[in-house]
């Protein structure tokens, strides 16, 4: 027989077993409460991350058009190859990565943060190749990204700038708050300054995918269409851009043309230039351009600092007239040289110009007249007039990294060199040599101020700014200077800027980059980088000025020979729309 004691122990233990059962069931219920009720939202969002994929449809950038509505920049259909870290490795393993060794590191760094652009602007066949192999190439995808196209190419390169993938550093800038990794943003020029106007808003498409990334549905979910960026109208005239590009040929330099009355930029260019389409997505080419001694990425029109040479005589003349040192009748005699403060200065015409007035001195660009004039002017006085004309400070044009140039003063020299100012230096400054430096856009603005009789406009590519005034210079002073500039075109150094039907006024400049004492006298015999810069500043028509222009040809030789023809070409194009209309014949000197 079984012991009753045994049976009761067995009974007790079987009865006890229900407590751990209860305990486990309650424990599990509490755990599920925690997962499902307390942390439910968190896990729901993780579930959405699993199955919801958002496809981004990039918005095309807005058009950039010129004054007449002609397209300067547009977004063309184009395919871009993107890859993340794993995708990049896969491409490499398959030998499909054609990026040069040196660019590899940068690409890999970008890919580590998310899909990065491997190649842009790839042909349709290549896009189809990658699209068809999505399965074998996880992490690699082809995106339809509207690529930027610039119909005028080099003629508008610096003006418009270019677009490029936003960099890691740029993502931190206020300017690019709305950009995301992989986005194309304006990197320079108008594309950069007006990036916010030009970028549209991207479209999004949500899709449901399964664990193997197969797309199961895309209907009935969030879907927003991409919206193209706004069209940006610039004040420039395409024909001027093209005419200047042709006229410059292989020369280096820059030009700026302004509307005399409003300051609107009618044309702006810098050469050499590279069509952004040529270096799009090509880091090797880009590096090459950065290293190029011809600095094709520098926008000389606003960043280039040049000695103005004789074109600065307009400022010295205005100072002399306004200070009462000279008037329309004052004559100085030029015998080819002048001795100022114990130093001998030469005129470009060795045999001298003889006695001449200010008007004649401007048209013939006589140096001696201005050396004599400078003896009665302090450098700080000249500087104050230079500043009144807007030199020595950015003009306020809507482009980036504008240079100030330099207007020297006694104080400036003491600060920089610790030495006092010498009177002979004032003589150099009076003819635009020495420490004076200007940008082409400052000189175009100066020309506009002279043309309008003292109105100093702010150059703008989009919209207009209030027009300022050149203080202290009287209308009759401007009239005298303008007469001298007309004579320079009619019979003086700037004759190559002539055109039929309308009268042109202008001033040339031939700026030394090295002392004439240490280099060969003949410009042609000097090494390229020691040759003179050629300047032309002018406006037209003479009676009712509409357009002011400044042209600099870097190491181009004499202003009359190298810069005036380009200035003339720009002015002729503006009025006639036909670059073929040229004046022939000649007369006068080339200086």
């Amino acid at each position: 027989m079984i012991h009753a004691e045994y049976l009761s122990r067995i009974r007790r233990r079987l009865t006890l077993a229900r407590y751990p059962l209860w305990a486990f069931v309650i424990l599990l219920a509490v755990r599920f409460w925690q997962l499902q009720i307390v942390r439910g939202e968190e896990f729901s969002s993780l579930a959405r991350d699993n199955y919801l994929q958002t496809e981004r449809h990039r918005a095309p950038r807005g058009l950039v058009v010129d004054r007449g509505g002609q397209v300067l920049a547009r977004s063309e259909p184009s395919f871009t190859l993107l890859a993340d870290e794993a995708g990049l490795r896969r491409l490499e393993d398959l030998g499909l990565l054609t990026v040069e060794e040196e660019d590899r590191a940068g690409l890999e760094a970008r890919a580590a943060r998310g899909p990065a652009v491997v190649r842009s602007g790839i042909p349709f066949a290549e896009a189809a190749f990658f699209e068809a192999r999505r399965r074998e190439l996880p992490g690699v995808r082809v995106e339809f990204v509207p690529a930027r196209d610039y119909p005028l190419g080099q003629a508008t390169a610096h003006l418009l700038g270019y677009v490029g993938e936003v960099t890691a550093a740029q993502l931190l800038l206020e300017e690019f708050v709305t950009a995301a990794s992989g986005d194309l943003v304006g990197q320079d020029g108008i594309e950069r300054v007006y990036n916010r106007t030009l970028v549209g808003s991207d479209g999004y498409l949500d899709r449901v995918v399964d664990s193997r990334q197969r797309v199961l549905a895309s209907g009935g979910l969030r879907r927003t269409e991409p919206v193209r960026g706004d069209t940006l109208q610039l004040s420039v005239v395409s024909a001027l851009q093209e005419a200047a590009h042709r006229a410059f040929g292989d020369e280096r330099g820059a030009f700026v043309a302004l509307d005399v009355r409003t300051g609107e930029v009618l044309g702006l260019g810098s050469f050499p230039a590279e069509n952004p389409e040529e270096f799009r997505g090509d880091a090797g080419k880009f590096r090459e351009m950065l290293a190029d001694s011809a600095t094709p990425l520098l926008n000389r029109a606003v960043q280039g600092r040049y000695p103005p040479g004789s074109s600065f005589k307009l400022v010295t003349a205005a100072a002399g007239l306004a200070e009462g040192v000279v008037d329309s009748e004052t004559r100085y005699t030029c015998n080819g040289r002048a001795r100022v403060a114990g130093r001998t200065f030469r005129c470009h015409r060795a045999q001298g110009h003889g006695p001449l007035t200010l008007r004649e001195a401007i048209s013939k660009s006589c140096n001696v007249f201005f050396y004599r004039l400078s003896e009665a002017l302090d450098v700080d006085v000249i500087a104050s007039y230079a500043r009144a004309f807007g030199l020595g400070a950015p003009t306020g044009v809507d482009l980036r990294n504008e240079s100030s140039g330099l207007v020297p003063t006694r104080e400036w020299k003491r600060r920089v060199t610790g030495e006092r100012w010498y009177a002979s230096e004032t003589a150099s400054v009076s003819v635009g040599q020495g420490a004076v430096s200007v940008t082409p856009i400052q000189m175009a603005r100066l020309a506009a101020a002279v043309a309008s009789g003292g109105n100093l406009p702010t150059p703008r590519l989009v919209g207009t700014e209030p027009v300022g005034v050149v203080g202290g210079v009287m209308p009759e002073h401007f009239e005298l200077i303008r007469d001298g500039m007309r004579d320079a075109v009619v019979s003086g150094t700037a004759w190559r800027a002539r055109m039929p039907l309308r009268e042109v006024a202008g001033k040339t400049g031939t700026a030394q980059v090295a002392s004439a004492d240490v280099v060969a006298a003949d410009n042609e015999d000097r090494p390229y980088e020691l040759r003179t810069h050629a300047w032309f500043v002018g406006f037209a028509p003479f009676d009712e000025p509409e357009i002011a222009v400044a042209v600099v040809v870097e190491h181009g030789g004499a202003g009359g020979a190298a810069a005036a023809p380009i200035g003339g070409e720009i002015l002729r194009t503006f009025f006639e729309g036909s670059p073929e209309t040229r004046v022939t014949g000649g007369g006068g000197a080339d200086r």
Partner: protein, 367 residues
């Protein structure tokens, strides 16, 4: 709840198991839509029919006569397990299955029921007359051999279940264990853990444990399953996403939704309410099994009591572990959820267990 003598099948057992099986059909319909391993709901329904038949047969059997046959049954299970271990079908690096034509038998499952019957038989007999030392040693060795054979497949989980069943039944059987032996045994286990970690575990087993401890560390590796199960469970919320509407299940982010993680499908699509409902059904079923065992003791049927107690252990060690695994409390282990997971062996064994339990109950109240 008092058990009342009543003719026929125990309705609590029948209703709770029936509801679990019914809910399982709903869950499997959802889970199997995304699974392309050849598993089909039809096959499961056919197995349910088979399981019903097995249950009825078990119910009709005289459990005392069966207990006397248990040594033979045990030896069959031991032989089959040994055959599977040495020459069974190789699947995912383990040999747990015997293939007979289209039938696939998992001797590990059969071994569980054989152990329950044998241990119940031996303990009940020892109440009348203590086992001889030789018999004790012989059966101890045979039991160890079975556990080792299963462990070597390798199926450490099932081996642990076998040991757990035997230990639990010995406890129910009133075996008095001296405290010092308890201490010595648990001390040995603690000391053995590092050795087991170093020499006793295979790489995938170590990875499983490590990934369990920190599932987010390696989202696409071993911790992926635990994480995806938690996402499925958590996103169910209070009411669930609705039947067939769970993205984790239907888009196949949830691993093994029809087998090991069928409870996660429940949690996702029917929410916390569904979870509580099924937990309650398991609780009711478990309590009922214990009641039947207690009633058998009172009716002087220790064999029946131990059998039902053993089946309780067999079903609940697996069920609670499986649900705890879905809840992310314990490492992933391939235990099926009794009555709910897809797969024939577990279903038939579980049905047999319930059939025997119903049989024990009927005999204790009809006579």
């Amino acid at each position: 709840m008092e058990l009342r003598a009543r003719e026929g099948v125990d309705r609590v057992l029948l209703v709770s198991v029936g509801l679990l099986a019914l809910i399982a059909v709903l869950l499997l319909e959802s889970a199997l839509r995304g699974v392309d391993s050849g598993a089909s709901l039809n096959a499961h329904v056919i197995r349910l029919g088979l399981a019903l038949g097995v249950g009825v047969v078990a119910y009709r059997m005289d459990h005392l006569r069966l207990a006397r046959l248990s040594p033979a049954l045990f030896l069959v299970a031991l032989s089959l397990s040994a055959i599977a271990t040495t020459s069974g079908a190789l699947r995912a690096g383990t040999r747990r299955w015997l293939e007979l034509g289209t039938l696939t038998i998992q001797p590990g499952e059969l071994a569980k029921i054989a152990v329950v019957l044998l241990v119940a038989h031996l303990i009940a007999r020892s109440l009348h007359e203590p086992l001889s030392r030789r018999a004790t040693v012989a059966w101890g060795a045979a039991g160890s051999a079975l556990a080792l054979a299963v462990a070597a497949q390798p199926d450490l989980g099932s081996a642990a279940i076998l040991v757990g069943i035997a230990a639990g039944m010995l406890f129910f059987g009133g075996v008095s264990i001296a405290r010092k032996w308890m201490l010595a045994a648990s001390g040995a286990v603690v000391l053995a853990l590092p050795l087991i970690w170093a020499f006793g575990l295979r790489d995938y087993q170590r990875v499983r444990i490590l990934s369990f401890l920190n599932p987010e560390s390696d989202p696409l590796g071993a911790g992926y399953q635990t994480l995806q199960a938690s996402i499925a469970v958590g996103s169910g919320g209070l009411f669930g996403t609705g039947w067939l509407q769970g993205p984790q299940t239907s888009l196949q982010f949830l691993p093994a939704p029809h087998t090991d993680f069928v409870f996660a499908v429940l949690a996702e699509e029917f929410g916390f309410l569904g979870v509580v409902t099924v937990l309650a059904l398991y609780l009711i079923l478990g309590l009922r099994l214990l009641q039947i065992a207690v009633a058998a003791v009172e009716n002087k049927d220790p064999t029946g009591a131990f059998m039902v107690g053993g089946f309780f252990l067999m079903l609940y060690l697996q069920a609670l572990y499986n649900i705890a695994m879905v809840a992310g409390i314990v490492p992933i282990k391939g235990f099926p959820l009794p009555f709910m997971s897809y797969g024939g062996n577990s279903l038939l064994i579980s049905a047999a267990a319930i059939g025997f339990a119903a049989s024990v109950r009927r005999r204790n109240f009809l006579t």
